[in-house]
């Protein structure tokens, strides 16, 4: 992808920036030189003065310049549901959100359970040529929960880990085999932590709000039950286990205990679970119908605490585009999910603005930590590394307007929501793929 030479792209000097690199702990003034798609040099000594005139100079105005975001949980809907999102529209949304690497779930049609689908996605991403797109392979064929996929061949084709996407691997024997088989290839099994026999048929968090609305609830225990079961299996089978979008206090606590025991367990969460609670469902707002559901306020606070103490390793957008036909329905019939690529950074920065996490800790959850889980070299500033960068003003106040989304679907529970922090430029392999909203 580093095609600067071929395209005749000018080397770039990003100067007058606040450099953020959580991997090295760097937070200070400086600049970055980008040449041939890679970071040539960076640090406090890089400024506009005395620069070779062949450099295109970008004055960052003192704003934050960080590794591009690595989003480890995205649904791109292509192939199969291109009316909701495509690799092209999803990539534009990602670029606008400061995301330079994203990993898509295998819940496409066909499911990513065969190397041909992996190659199709890679091919489309090369054509679109915006952000770097990777895929997860399904754990089971058709994500049906029964028969293991060709994990070895899928790993060789480039999938970064295995997950059945929005479905839990419910069968204990299948999970046991998946953990041990995937361990040969050092790949994580990523679980949608929800015991289906408890959660099935539910539409929102089980509790007072669900009772008042007359909606069937999804109990919080469905999450911790699955996590605790899987941790038992992990202890016996070995391998690596990752809990996706943890949403409950008990779920975070289970992961915290698993880590304390030395198990190879990690987890992520998504902005809705630390910014909203079940109250957002309000009067049957289907855009707030998520899986897992928005939980109680005490759960939201526990997610923030889990991020603050490092129990939660990463923040992913959990981007789940749904068209109008899937959402303008009675609550019980509406589809789960919210788009998130374009709101990931400002919502995560809310943790910093509220004093819950330091700036570098927020950025770590979005860059080097997910990259490390996935075995990717990105998410850090290093000489010679690909110049995947995001420039953002951390303080700029604005209101989320769903109509402005680049994503093909507009389903976010945040319309009119005030946030601080705005992406000004997104760079992939030294190439500016987003230069701010008009």
């Amino acid at each position: 992808m580093a095609a600067n030479g071929k395209t005749g792209q000018r080397p770039m000097a990003l100067v007058n920036a606040r450099l953020l690199d959580p991997a090295s702990g760097l937070d200070g003034p400086g600049g970055i030189l980008v040449e041939n798609g890679a970071i040539a040099d960076f640090g406090a000594h890089i400024g506009a003065d005395g620069l070779d005139p062949r450099f295109e100079v970008v004055d960052c105005g003192g704003h934050c310049l960080a590794p591009g975001l690595v989003d480890m949980r995205v649904q791109l809907r292509e192939p199969g549901e291109e009316h909701k999102e495509t690799i092209a529209t999803g990539s534009r949304a990602a670029a606008a959100g400061g995301v330079t690497t994203m990993v898509c779930l295998p819940n496409t049609a066909p499911v990513i359970d065969d190397i041909a689908v992996v190659e199709f996605i890679a091919h489309r991403a090369r054509e679109v040529k915006l952000v770097k797109v990777f895929a997860y392979g399904a754990v089971t064929r058709g994500a049906k929960g029964a028969d293991l996929t060709e994990m070895g061949l899928l790993a060789e084709a480039g999938v970064l880990a295995f997950t059945d996407g929005t479905r839990a691997v419910a069968d204990a024997v299948v999970m046991n085999r998946a953990l041990s088989y995937a361990s040969i290839f050092d790949k994580m099994i990523i679980q949608h932590p929800e015991e289906p026999s408890l959660a099935g048929g539910g539409h929102m968090n089980k509790g007072e709000a669900a009772t008042r609305l007359g909606l069937r609830g999804i109990p919080p225990v469905a999450e911790v039950l699955m996590i605790e079961r899987d941790l038992r299996l992990l202890g016996a089978a070995g391998g690596r286990y990752h809990v996706a979008h943890v949403s409950t206090a008990d779920g975070v606590e289970a992961v915290r205990r698993g880590k304390a025991q030395g198990l190879a367990v990690t987890c992520d969460t998504a902005p809705p679970y630390f910014t909203l609670n079940e109250g957002a469902v309000g009067d049957y707002r289907t855009f707030a119908k998520l899986s897992p559901p928005l939980r109680a306020e005490s759960d939201r606070a526990a997610i923030v605490a889990g991020l603050a103490d490092g129990t939660i390793d990463a923040i992913a957008s959990d981007h789940a585009p749904q068209d109008q036909d899937s959402k303008r329905l009675p609550f019980a019939q509406a589809a789960f999910g919210a788009v998130g690529l374009e709101t990931l950074l400002p919502l995560a920065l809310g943790l910093y603005h509220k004093g819950a996490l330091g700036m570098l800790d927020v950025i770590a959850c979005l860059t080097n930590r997910p990259a490390a889980l996935l075995g990717l070299p990105s998410g850090r500033l290093a000489a010679g590394a690909a110049a995947d960068l995001v420039l953002f003003d951390p303080d700029h106040p604005w209101r989320i307007e769903e109509a402005d989304f680049y994503s093909k679907s507009k389903n976010a529970p945040y319309d009119g929501h005030p946030v601080q922090g705005r992406v000004e430029r997104t760079i992939v392999d030294g190439r500016t793929i987003f230069a701010g909203r008009a």
Binding site: D147, T149, E150, M151, G152, R177, I184, G238
Partner: protein, 321 residues
Amino acid sequence: MTTPPNPTNHRFPHRHLLGIEGLSSADISLILDLSEGYVAQNRQADKTRSTLHGRTLINLFFETSTRTRTSFELAGKRLGADVINMTVATSSIKKGETMIDAAVTLNAMRPDVLAVRHPDSGAVSLLSEKINGAVINAGDGSHEHPTQALLDALTIRRRRGRIEGLLVAICGDVLHSRVARSNIHLLNIMGARVRVIAPPTLLPTAIERMGVEVFHDMRKGLEDCDIVMMLRVQTERMQGNLIPSVREYFHFYGLDYDKLGAAKPDALIMHPGPMNRGVEIDSAVADDYGRSVIHEQVEMGVAVRMACLDLLTRDLDGGTD
């Protein structure tokens, strides 16, 4: 009645041959030494002796088998015994009851040796409690198949002159394999180093406690090996349960020339048969007669079983209660 000379002064101390576990290196050497004579005998035009004249061998198979049963049948006939084959279908009747009933009934007919195969681990040992004669385990579930390990050992010893110190890789479905377990016991007793190579889904828990090194990467596991023992993988285990597919299995664990390149240049290739070509072993490798000793294993099988029959009947009386 003449018996071939006992090459050592060791006397076989067991009434039955239920497994390799529990045998000593002297026991194993005794069987292998005796087998050598029978290999020679089997290569002559007149293959028959009267060592077991008047004795009765019953091949009692609760699981279908062609080659093992034929091998026992030939072994008995070449020693002059009367041989009866009984194949008992287990699917239609309650297994335990049938087996004990069959054992008691057969015992009343005063057979001298029973070669028994059963799909359940431990069943042959249970049956042997009801038998006055000698019982040879011809394979019980996923437990043991001692004559297979002995014939493998004979094949190796004849080719390499020794077993001690060799590095042997056992590859494939160790989880379900009685051949693997018997070989692991025998090779350890005889001083070889044993590796097992398989995905974790095809390895039983704590297999390393049986005295093997575990490898999931076949090329690494085969490095410097003297012997490559392949195991049969049942295709019904290849439908995404224990392994995702045949093509994935062959890609990572099928023995082809590429992976074999990691082993010693003169490494022997063994397989207990029947082979799944293109699943656990590439056809070209299986048919490479310079290195594949698969047919030789079958030949050694008859000689080893003759030696076992011979040894187990030496001290056997007429079968009084």
